[in-house]
């Protein structure tokens, strides 16, 4: 399936070429226009069906990039030092497999065996500055022949199915959104002008989305994401950001966007009409490309619709395929039914 291919693809922020190629080859025959801009965004347009007055222009965005690493230098012993790309918790790094650069060189982030660590050491987090990647090189020369400074790296994870209707893999944030967007393209054309955009560099500050929105200038935008799901049982009665299996998560407000209240309520009503479960993402947490899109140009009402994903920004995230399909259905339905009159302030 497309999600599997996208999840396995290599694409840290700024190095989205492989993912971009997969997306373009899948959609190019289905859209009326497709351009790749200077920041690497894939900006498409599907003309509105039918004639008549100026159609609504709806942008739907998903980001191509994933969190990862970039090689800064090799040391004399042949180990690679790296910096993080995007938000990764240092605690998850040791002993993880990675692949590096265009040659997909395999490597392992080092870790001291438990036999040799003191209790004090085990209680401490090792900063990524003190971690290195082992690619099996004997010395600096051997290392730089395989991997040069500036090469990107991602976790080395293969997509898999498990449990009942769950899938696991890396880069679900936001290849899940990319897969949703591809499916929405395949369900078109629509009675509105549809502008699907696959953005770059979201994880380092919504950089691609900002310029893409300036170019598209939508009337309304949807952001297709996979979002934080921390639904394990908790000691305190404080709820969870989202819960797996409870349907697409609609954002009310996050760190970068206060969603037009009429738009989010409209989407919730459409979910009810469609018979699709949906949930509100707990307000105040995280951020999406919507933070850039909604305030570009003269502004556009923007709604993130997300598939809940456990363990995002790690080597292995988990989603429910039911949530995934419901997200596609709900996004399509909202786009088909929304009008400016429904959402004007």
């Amino acid at each position: 399936m497309m999600l599997e291919k996208l999840s396995n693809a290599f694409g840290p922020s700024g190095c989205e070429g492989d993912v971009r190629r997969i997306v373009i080859s899948d959609i190019k025959s289905r859209v009326d226009e497709l351009t790749v801009d200077h920041l690497g965004n894939v900006i498409c347009r599907m003309k509105a069906t039918g004639r008549g007055k100026k159609p609504l222009r709806i942008m739907a965005a998903a980001h191509l990039d994933e969190v990862g690493m970039i090689i800064t230098h090799a040391d004399d012993d042949g180990f690679l030092h790296f910096d993080k790309i995007g938000g990764i918790d240092d605690r998850i790094l040791p002993a993880k497999g990675v692949v590096i650069g265009a040659g997909k060189v395999p490597g392992v982030i080092i870790a001291k065996p438990v036999h040799l660590t003191s209790a004090e050491e085990r209680g401490k987090v090792i900063s990524h500055d003190d971690l290195v990647i082992d690619i099996g090189a004997a010395n600096k020369d051997a290392a730089v022949k395989k991997c040069a400074p500036g090469d990107y790296a991602t976790f080395d994870t293969r997509f898999r199915r498990f449990g009942r209707g769950l899938v696991a893999g890396k880069a679900f944030d936001d290849r899940v959104g990319c897969a949703v967007l591809i499916e929405l393209i395949k369900r078109g054309p629509y009675p509105f002008e549809f502008c699907p955009v696959f953005t770059t560099m979201e994880e380092v500050g919504l950089r691609g989305a900002k310029v893409a929105a300036f170019k598209v200038r939508p009337d309304i935008a949807l952001v297709l994401e996979s979002t934080i799901c921390e639904d394990s049982p908790k000691e305190k009665d404080r709820g969870s950001v989202t819960a797996i299996g409870k349907g697409p998560a609609l954002s009310l407000a996050d760190r970068g966007l206060i969603v037009n209240r009429k738009l989010v309520r409209f989407a919730a009503r459409r979910a009810a009409a469609l018979g699709v479960p949906c949930q509100f993402k707990q307000p105040g947490i995280g951020g999406t490309d919507g933070g850039a899109i909604h305030k570009e140009g003269e502004g556009a009402p923007t709604l993130p619709v997300s598939v809940p994903a456990r363990y995002i920004h790690s080597p292995m995230a988990v989603i429910s395929l039911r949530d995934f399909h419901h997200t596609i259905d709900l996004a399509e339905d909202v786009m088909r039914h929304v009008t400016l009159a429904d959402i004007q302030p």
Binding site: I258, Q282, G284, E298, G299, A300, Q344, P345
Partner: protein
């Protein structure tokens, strides 16, 4: 103009949810302007047409939104957790109250602190609306609230929630009332949204208007209280503060000079402001498109982002005078 200040500060409008205060402002200004519209971000944009012969556009902006809260969770016992809309300071809020959009009032309380010497984080706070369970709780996830304090007079001062920046809105409304001559330039009076979460309304508003110069009307901090957070040469009662610099902008020099010239000519007291922490809509206007000349008339205000933001009434009146004086004598570089 105390009536209009009271009406403004006691209105409801946390960031992103300015509908009610926008309607109130619209009622006040509709008869005073030539055109009025609301853009996609909810900014209220009112045009007062000029004589037209110089074709210039001035954007005057004050933000309608105030800091507030959004319900993030209601627990099994009906206690409400919330996230902040804008820069909410937990210690200012504990023991106070908030009012939700549907009229529900809640008391703001907090869990025990691990370290009582440390200021609490927002997640330690909750709101008690008198509910006993999730089922009888009158508010739900996504509902919004503002902090609750009516306006009171403290001698020559006025204290209330939301002086930031409804006092700016009131100054713009009063300026519209006081302008007697048709200005040379087209003047866009813009009541912006979502300033407290990052100047978002002003960003799209300025893009849409594409002005020749922008003037924000907003509050600024002062250094005139016991052991202030930051030393600062601004006091309440000493006149409008003409901004020189804050963390978001260096004011375009000729805009600052325009303000000083008008204040000097009309014998309006004023002070000069260098604000170390904070920014206003003027910073967003200045960076719009290819860049816009911009400045800010600041109203000195104590206890900003508390439910008792305190300004001097004389400073407010003088700010109106300064704004009207500027708009009647526009200067373009």
């Amino acid at each position: 103009m105390k009536d209009i200040i009271k009406k403004m500060v006691e209105g409801f409008g946390p960031s992103g949810f300015e509908d009610s205060i926008r309607a109130a402002i619209r009622d006040e200004i509709q008869p005073l302007v030539d055109e009025i519209r609301v853009d996609a971000m909810g900014n209220l944009i009112a045009l007062k047409k000029g004589t037209g012969h110089d074709g210039k556009k001035i954007m005057v902006a004050a933000h309608m939104d105030e800091i507030g809260a959004m319900v993030s969770y209601v627990d099994k016992k009906g206690f409400v957790r919330f996230t902040n809309l804008g820069g909410v300071v937990p210690i200012f809020e504990v023991g106070g109250r908030m009012r939700f959009e549907n009229g529900t009032i809640g008391v703001i309380a907090m869990e025990k602190l691990e370290d009582p010497k440390k200021a609490p984080e927002l997640e330690k706070l909750y709101v008690d609306v008198g509910a006993t369970s999730r089922d009888d709780c009158p508010v739900n996830v996504g509902d919004v609230a503002c902090f609750l304090q009516p306006m009171v007079e403290l001698g020559p001062c006025l204290a209330s929630k939301a002086m930031d920046d409804r006092v700016g809105c009131a100054i713009m409304i009063q300026a519209l009332r006081d302008m007697k001559t048709k200005p040379a330039a087209d003047i866009y009076f813009v009541f912006t949204t979502q300033e407290e979460v990052g100047l978002r309304g002003a960003t799209t508003g300025a893009f849409g208007i594409n002005p020749d110069v922008g003037i924000a009307i907003d509050v600024t901090g002062t250094g005139d209280t016991p052991e202030p957070a930051r030393k600062m040469a601004v006091s309440i009662g000493a006149g409008p503060a003409i901004k020189i610099k804050d963390s978001g902008m260096v004011v375009t020099p000729w805009v600052k000079d325009w303000m000083i010239d008008v204040a000097t000519a009309q014998k309006i007291p004023f002070q000069l402001e260098v604000l170390v922490g904070g920014a206003t809509d003027a910073a967003a206007i200045q960076k719009s498109r290819a860049g816009v000349a911009a400045g800010c008339i600041s109203i000195p205000c104590r206890y900003i982002h508390s439910p008792s933001e305190t300004v001097s009434y004389a400073d407010v009146l003088n700010s109106v005078k300064l704004l009207v004086g500027m708009l009647e004598r526009p200067v373009f570089n």
